[in-house]
């Protein structure tokens, strides 16, 4: 009887193929409204000193509790000093406020003297706090970095920080899906930073708006985890909500044994689930962008938007050749701000400062790449250069490998970990009119200090610029 009944109903259709993003999303929907608005569960919440005080204050005022202290982690990074000197008054108050908040709400905290302290997006993966398939948020737009582990990670504002603290969820509508495939093999001297600058150059700063980008293709798979983090980190500079990469053996190898990664039986169980995360064959993407790795040269930005990226062999562009009126105005304004003349060879642009660090390029592999160029050479006399490790553990590892000595002998300053001159909230900043070769992620007007001029590039390119005293082609140093 039961058998006949069963055979009367046709077998259920196979589930439709889904993307990595869709799988993570579906796994975290707590509640879905008819219009598609979801209450989305958040697995990990990273908290730092600058965007959290008002959120904790809101919680207190409403008499609300922190729902999941064990899913939350706090650290001070944005305005902490990179020297042993004292902090300015306002920064000190912000750090003390964070310390009071984490104590009151029992949030795990890497304190100022904790060797694990560092940039929030460096320590997440480093500690195994960032795992495949997770939803991760932080009151910082570069949270997309964590997508390199195959997590859905995005930045939120302070009101949403408060929302996550109180409910461990967010109210969200699903983003559209874009696939950016970089096939082939990267040429010598070309790094993850050049790849993402090339992608942003193609998409433009608003090209990714409303999308989550999945990076795929041989050149992406061939990147180390550090390189993948660099790529995902700058997704936001293309306007994308998040960037992610399917987890694979390299991901698992990187994570295994990290302090907060699952252990033993839990690791095996996690692994079996993580292996099912990659996008299914035939899954639908709303947009597709294809690049050939062999076409990507070492890149550098010339203007005040990350989309203003060009091959280092190129020249400063002429606004007369801008694609439309809006861009013509934007280029003209950029060039005036940057103090550049159309037609100047990029390799002839003199620089004053070099900054190697940030959540884009402050990891051990980045410091190794820069040290490789700096080894046995000297920073040009017109340049002041600094290296700021992304975390205390990166710093310790670099020192174990003797990278600090290479840098110091070459004339770089070797600093304490933190965000530093990426956003210049602490004492590290460039002076008006100074020009900086920087491994960070934003070249906006005033980003590294009022009137400061920023050129974004890879760590090896930054080191090469420091030695030559002008922007430089790293391939001349290899």
């Amino acid at each position: 009887m039961a058998f006949r009944k069963k055979s009367a109903t046709p077998p259920p259709p196979p589930p439709p193929p889904r993307t990595l993003f869709e799988k993570i999303w579906d796994n975290h929907v707590v509640h879905r409204q008819d219009d598609g608005t979801c209450v989305l569960y958040i697995d990990r919440h990273l908290v730092h000193e600058v965007t959290s005080p008002q959120a904790f204050e809101g919680l207190r005022m409403a008499g609300r509790q922190l729902r999941r202290p064990d899913a939350t982690i706090a650290v001070a990074d944005h305005n902490t000093p990179t020297t042993t000197g004292p902090m300015d008054e306002e920064s000190r108050i912000q750090v003390e406020t964070l310390e009071k908040n984490v104590a009151d709400f029992h949030v795990p905290y890497f304190g100022m003297d904790d060797p694990r302290r560092g940039i929030v997006h460096v320590i997440g993966p480093e500690q195994g706090l960032t795992l495949p398939g997770m939803t991760i948020v932080c009151g910082d737009s570069h949270t997309s970095t964590h997508g390199a582990m195959g997590a859905l990670a995005f930045g939120i504002g302070t009101s949403e920080v408060e929302h996550v603290l109180a409910t461990q969820t967010l109210i969200q509508k699903p983003a559209k899906n874009m696939r950016v495939a970089v096939e082939g093999v990267l040429p010598l001297g070309v790094t993850a930073k050049d790849v993402i600058l090339a992608i942003i150059g193609k998409l433009g700063t608003a090209g990714g708006t409303g999308y989550v980008i999945e990076y795929a293709g041989r050149a992406i798979r061939d990147l180390t985890m550090e390189g993948r983090m660099t790529v995902c980190n700058m997704s936001i500079e293309a306007g994308a909500r998040a960037g992610l990469i399917a987890p694979d053996e390299a991901t698992f190898q990187y994570l295994e044994g990290r302090p907060y990664a699952p252990k033993g039986g839990a690791w095996d169980l996690a692994l079996s689930q993580w292996r099912r995360l990659p996008s299914d064959k035939g899954a639908h993407f709303d947009m597709q962008l294809d690049l050939n790795a062999s076409d990507i040269p070492p890149m550098v930005t010339w203007g005040t938007s990350p989309q203003d990226a060009l091959p280092i062999t190129d020249v400063v562009p002429d606004p007369a050749n801008a694609p439309d009126e809006n861009m013509r105005e934007a280029w003209t304004r950029s060039l005036a701000y940057m103090g550049l003349t159309p037609g100047t060879k990029l390799v002839d642009v003199p620089i004053d400062r070099v900054f190697i660090g940030s959540c884009t390029n402050g990891r051990i592999e980045d410091l190794r790449a820069a040290a490789e160029i700096a080894r046995g050479r000297k920073v040009a006399s017109n340049v002041s250069a600094m290296v700021v490790p992304g975390s205390g553990l990166v710093k310790a590892e670099a020192e174990r490998e003797g990278l600090d000595k290479i840098f110091i002998e070459a004339g770089f300053e070797w600093r304490l970990q933190g965000c530093s001159m990426c956003l210049a909230m602490n004492a590290d900043r460039i002076e008006p009119g100074q020009r900086c070769a920087s491994t960070s992620n934003r070249n906006f007007e005033g980003r590294q200090g009022r009137g400061g001029r920023t050129h974004l590039l890879s760590p090896a390119m930054a080191a090469a610029a420091a030695i030559k005293g002008t922007l430089a082609d790293v391939r001349d140093f290899q």
């Binding site: 509640h31 965007t51 005080p53 949270t143 109180a166 105005e329 934007a330």
Partner: protein, 204 residues
């Protein structure tokens, strides 16, 4: 959060593309632990020279000093997640921004603070930019319920907005309160997740 029903006010034109959050509120104003008092930092580097002289920034011109609306170039609010950007705009008195497009996080942050960001196609922006250039006559009326903008010459245009976001603005709803009403759903989700992905939860 303050409700948003209708708004009548001067609209200031800011045709620049990619007005980023670092321009809207530079980092030195992020060291506050409060949400208020940020208007002094709004567009600081565009309003003041390095040696403390006032530049003739649009929002400081007599015609626009009480502006409640900004008509902006495309990709407004790109860059960081700092909610200090909408806080500073709100503190100055801006309750509505009209642009061809906004960066996602900034767009989201506006709604959490009772600011209405309106997306419009280029032709309409061009027209509104023109309206906004008429100094203190550049008065726009925005009716959220009807989803209409009325220009100084009486013509109206319709705008689109997500119905849920509209409702939250109209009623000044507290998101957190809304979500907490679903507490049992969250409890259920957590229970299931703890069983399926025990490593995401601290040992009991």
């Amino acid at each position: 959060m303050e409700k948003f029903n209708t708004l009548r006010g001067v609209a200031a034109p800011m045709p620049m593309v990619n007005i980023d959050t670092d321009m809207i509120i530079p980092k030195n104003f992020l060291k506050t632990i409060k949400r208020t008092g940020l208007k002094d930092g709004l567009f600081y580097e565009m309003r003041w020279t390095a040696d403390g002289q006032k530049k003739d920034f649009i929002l400081d011109q007599p015609a626009y000093k009480d502006a409640k609306v900004i008509v902006a170039g495309p990709n407004f609010g790109c860059g960081s997640s700092r909610e200090h950007a909408p806080w500073a705009l709100l503190d100055f008195g801006i309750r509505c921004i009209i642009s061809e497009g906004f960066a996602d996080i900034f767009y989201n942050n506006c709604f959490k603070n009772g600011i209405l960001p309106i997306k419009m196609p280029k032709e309409i922006i061009d027209k509104l930019m023109d309206d906004a250039s008429r100094g203190s006559n550049a008065v726009l009326e925005i009716d959220l319920e009807k989803q209409e903008i009325k220009g100084p010459d009486g013509g109206t245009v319709h705008f689109e907005i997500d119905p849920f976001r509209k409702k939250c603005l109209l009623e000044g709803l507290d998101d957190i309160g809304l979500t907490l009403e679903k507490k049992s759903d969250i409890d259920d989700f957590e229970k299931k997740q703890r069983a399926a992905q025990p490593w995401l939860h601290a040992a009991e």
